[in-house]
Amino acid sequence: MTQLDRRRFLAGATATAAAALAAPRAHAQKSGGTLRFVAQADLKILDPVWTTAYITRNHAYLIYDTLFGTDDKLQVRPQMVDKHSVSKDGMKYTFTLRNGLKWHDGQPVVAEDCVESLKRWMKKDRFGRLLAAHTAKIAPADRRTFTLELGERFGPVLEALGKPSSNVPFMMPARLAATSADEQVKEIVGSGPFRFSKDEWQPGNQVVYVRNPDYVPRNEAASGSAGGKKVFLDKVIWRYMPDHATAAAALAAGEVDWWEIPPLDFIPKIEQDSTLATFLPDPLGTQGWLRPNHLHPPFNNKKARQALVHMMNQETYLQAAIGVAKYYRPCHSVFACQGPYRSTAGAEGLARQNLERARQLVKESGYDGRPVTVVHVTDIALLNGAALVTRELLGSIGFNVDLKAMDWSTNLAVRAKKDPPDKGGWNIVHTWWMAADVMHPAVHFGVSGAGPGAWFGWPEIPQLEKLITDWVRASDQARRKQIADEVQKIALDEVAYVPWGEYVLPTAFRRSVGGILKFIAPLFWNVSIA
């Protein structure tokens, strides 16, 4: 069943991608023009280190550059860095910046800027904090060179510096990077291929970016956030359209050129229009989560949590949440199924629903019949569907369920509460994470067992924390894979969370748009408009 589903999914996704993939590249790329883009959300926060919001990350890819990029095969490649070397013992990294890099205020990019930017990022980001904990010293060596000396072995240094998703280690001038990581930077000055037009920014309506004429791209083909960031557009205007029907009509009427994430029910209509095309920019997809709260009964009991694994039927969740089979796939791995750490270790229970076993575990857990509070987000279709399936399944294995309906914003506040469910807290929440954020143990919040320091749900599983440290200290890929398998086994046995499958979301654009790159975020270099 699983193999069939995956094949069916891949066939559908490949067909969609193949049909659309050619479209963005169908015409010769010409310079100039303004691209009007409907963004997935309203850009309110401009500092990509201060927040982890995807919309801010996407904005930052236009403004800021990175030391390393990640290509469409998930390989880390130099971007601002011209060359780098590692000492024989693997404990000292030396990075030399490319010539001619300039900030948008005209100042040259120097090594000190990068050092300060990395220090700020290391205070906020999970992978960055891990790297900081293993770093003895990071300092400029000359104007274009800086060194990173490890105090303890840390294998994935380049993966950390080329991390593609939030928080991305974007480079800023040292004077701005000196801002506390808990404060927003006051100026938006990067060295990326576009400049932010602050005077034209209208939160809730539009964001405007103009080409950076001083940007010097690498002399390589663009691939993901790696390679040459050649800019063909003069201007990019992001529009925020809260109403999907309006965005669809604006795209059809040619008032906008590219719609980042149309809801799936709009896709058939878009595909019927010969002037429009769709494309899967992130085939790695997104993973759905069911997260139990480890602090309160009944899920402070391991057996009650294990019942959640045995009740899981990913196909049911995906049907309810996504609905269109070609856009989803069951994935019985805590790590992204299209990534290098995909695993079946310890996933037998997850792969085959066994309601009888789940009922037995609920009984063995000593469940006393108190209501299980499931947060029900009603204004996001996929979370709405997932919560309804959870209610049915929990009921069928013997739990009494209290479905608490609320909007997404209220859910964000509620899930941060550690109070018991009858005092405003919760037992189960649903959410999603992009595959890039569940790719390996150092970025995956779901496999953190740091207790109060873990993501909401606060599982305290010291073995996981130790294994994650072992993972970053491992220097060869085979050993890392072995540790990742072990992480998965423990995460599923302790039920840190329960994944309910993966899905992909197409983007839609007018056929006059060419050169859209595959990546987790919309990129605007390499893109042209006829």
């Binding site: 801010t56 539009q206 109403d243 309006t246 604006a250 009427a253 209220t410 109060p452």
Partner: protein, 313 residues
């Protein structure tokens, strides 16, 4: 009269004060926390606590009220928690769109609603009257968002005569400005057009039975002159009241229209701020809008005196 206007203006200050405190209190008892939204999905509880402290959200309610009121007295509406932009700047960016939309919608509502209401009353019981009443009932019943989408489909997507969405300031030229306002203003106006037509008809029916109207007709005055100069003027007090209330309702109703047509107005600013719990923006906008409501009521009261000199305050 002038003294009365000044007295009423002075009375708006305590009203605004009560509104301000009520808005602040209501916002702080509703669930939601801007700190968790700012922190994003990967934030830990500690990250959120740090942001709450930095924003002053961990202070007691009375301390937050005092800080906010102190700023208001100094004319400072505060700064958006998210964008870091002053609330006055955000309101300034949006006010013109909502003002023009509301004004155009009201012009259309009055320009169409009053004449058809007068005609319906004059031809009471005729097909014209029934037609106007049918329009009034359906206009009042049609959801604004539905009508908006129908108009977009017909006039923008199918015919291509008008744009689907967006706003152009007057500085961009008269025609681009008008093109972008026609569909939203018509969408917003229909419900008020229907309301004004019904109210005008009902009010005119009461007046048309009066002896002085019969006398005017008996004198041989033209029907148009009797209807407009004699009947409508005396029937206009309830209509003016409805127009005043309608103006206030239009500002609220603009939220849906602004969303359907992706117009950057105050309505959408408010909704976006509510969704994110951007307290300073919500408080600032509601304070400004409540001030506008109070002023509209004042203008309506002044108009009563102009239309009927017997009224004294």
């Amino acid at each position: 009269m002038l003294a009365e206007v000044l007295r009423r203006l002075g009375a708006t200050i305590p009203v605004m004060g009560v509104v301000a405190i009520a808005v602040f209190a209501l916002l702080h008892v509703t669930p939601g926390d801007p700190a968790v939204i700012i922190a994003g999905d990967y934030a830990t509880t500690d990250d959120i606590a740090r942001i709450r402290t930095r924003l002053g959200l961990d202070q007691p309610f009375h301390a937050q009220v005092a800080i906010w009121l102190g700023r208001i007295v100094r004319g400072d509406l505060g700064t958006s928690i998210f964008s870091g932009l002053p609330v006055s700047t955000l309101i300034g960016q949006r006010a013109a769109t909502t003002a023009w939309l509301t004004l155009f919608a009201m012009l259309i509502s009055v320009g169409v609603g009053v004449p058809i209401g007068v005609l319906a009353a004059w031809r009471k019981g005729s097909w014209l009257d029934r037609g106007v009443m049918m329009f009034a009932v359906s206009g009042f019943s049609m959801p604004t968002f539905w009508l908006g989408f129908i108009l977009v489909y017909v006039f923008a997507v199918t015919a291509g005569w008008l744009p689907v969405q967006g706003y152009q300031p007057l500085a961009a030229g008269l025609w681009p400005f008008l093109r972008h306002l026609i569909l939203p203003a018509v969408t917003l106006s229909v419900v008020y057009m229907a309301l004004i037509a019904r109210m005008t008809r009902a009010s005119m029916l009461g007046v048309l039975d009066e002896d002085y109207i019969r006398t005017a007709f008996a004198k041989g005055l033209a029907p148009r002159r009797v209807l407009v100069r004699h009947a409508l003027k005396n029937a206009s007090l309830p209509v003016v009241t409805i127009i005043g209330i309608g103006f206030a309702l239009l500002i609220g109703g603009a939220v849906v229209t602004e969303s359907v047509f992706a117009l950057p107005g105050l309505g959408r600013l408010t909704v976006d701020a509510i969704v994110r719990r951007d307290y300073p923006v919500i408080q600032g906008v509601l304070l400004v809008v409540s001030g506008v409501y109070v002023l509209i009521n004042l203008v309506v009261d002044v108009l009563y005196v102009v239309l009927d000199p017997r009224i004294r305050y």
